[in-house]
Amino acid sequence: MSNVLKDEIASHELPATPMDPAIMAKREEKIQVAMIGLCGCWGCTLSFLDMDAGLLSLLDKINISRASITDIKRIPKRCAIGFVEGGVANDENIETLEHFRENCDILISVGACAVWGGVPAMRNDVELEACFKEAYIDSPTAVPGIKPVIPFHEDLPLITSKVYPCHEVVKMDYFLPGCPPEGEAIFKVLDDLVNGREIDLPTSINRYD
């Protein structure tokens, strides 16, 4: 982020032990896949893991670079396929999404939040000020006797006034609705792309909830 202090190091900048060159060389040849979560609940990421054995069948063709499995923050190398979970609700989300757009050939909105804003977008019919008031000032769980404060610091991401679907911020290539989509649906999309087929999600596994 632009307001990161000079002496701070992000996790992806930390020194790491080099991998076995033979393994690394093999990885280089594979199709790079990444996934990130923005403003969502990470349920779609769990669905990504729900591909289970299906994922194993693809592992000799794909390499998962940035994902919850690897826990690095940024994409280390250009990816062919990027999955994005969650909508855009703060400036850090915008930056991450733009980073993904710049570093992925194909970008896919996964889940209701990425597709149209989802549950976080339920705050779109309320002013941001009212949201903060409800969350921090008039909160029923506020600690009695302590002056309520709306958190504000240069290290904290700035909340956007509305929650936006990903495609209203950057161009998204495909959409996979669901809350979350089944692992089976994510697998179908990934399998189609990896094997060079046009994405064709059958009606039977397309879900909006």
Binding site: A112, W116, A121, N124, D125, E168, Y174, C179, Y208, D209
Partner: protein, 235 residues
Amino acid sequence: MKTEITLDGKKIQALIGKPLIDVASDHGVYIPSLCYMRGKPCLGTCRVCSVRVNGHVMASCTVPVYEGMEVEVDTPDLVDMRKALVEFLFVEGNHNCPSCEKSGRCELQAVGYETGMMVSRFPYRFPVRTRDHASKYIWLERDRCIFCQRCVEFIRDEETGQKIFSIDKRSTHASIEIDVKLADKMTPKQVKRAADICPVGCIIDKDLGFNKPIGERKYEIKSIKERILKGKTNE
């Protein structure tokens, strides 16, 4: 009296005066719709059943069969047009399937699946519409209403025949209204019917909530397409 019409290039025999949408489904051609209910007078409000008749696009529920009709249903432009109409409905209100009690038995959602909608091509509007919970049995989630007018026409007070639901104002100011006095007189059966014929989660039976687990809900057991092609309505 029967006549010969052309449906997607195929010659078929159809009863003169029968709604085109019914004739199509009797011949295995599914046309999605959100306001039309088989056997009931057509409303023609949602336009999702649009097809091309002799070169003109029209809602197939409003068109009675006549001699020499040439009907196109399954052309790429018409398929996309119907999909666009569904996408339009999704942005016009707040259709938050993950948090909606109607999910799984919602016609709008089911038709969304049938038209292959993944996302709406239009910007989401997130309209602000107040909910109405004044009635004893019915919860009115106004931001889900698609103004199909099914409830307006088909749900009436059993004694007087008066309308219980109505649409107030027009265009972006339009809102679905409920006559609370009449609504409180509704029988449980009538309340259930009102909630059932609502193609979205606007009219909610207060007693129902999330009553069925995922996987066992209406359109998960049998898709809307299968139901319509079997001549069934949503009643």
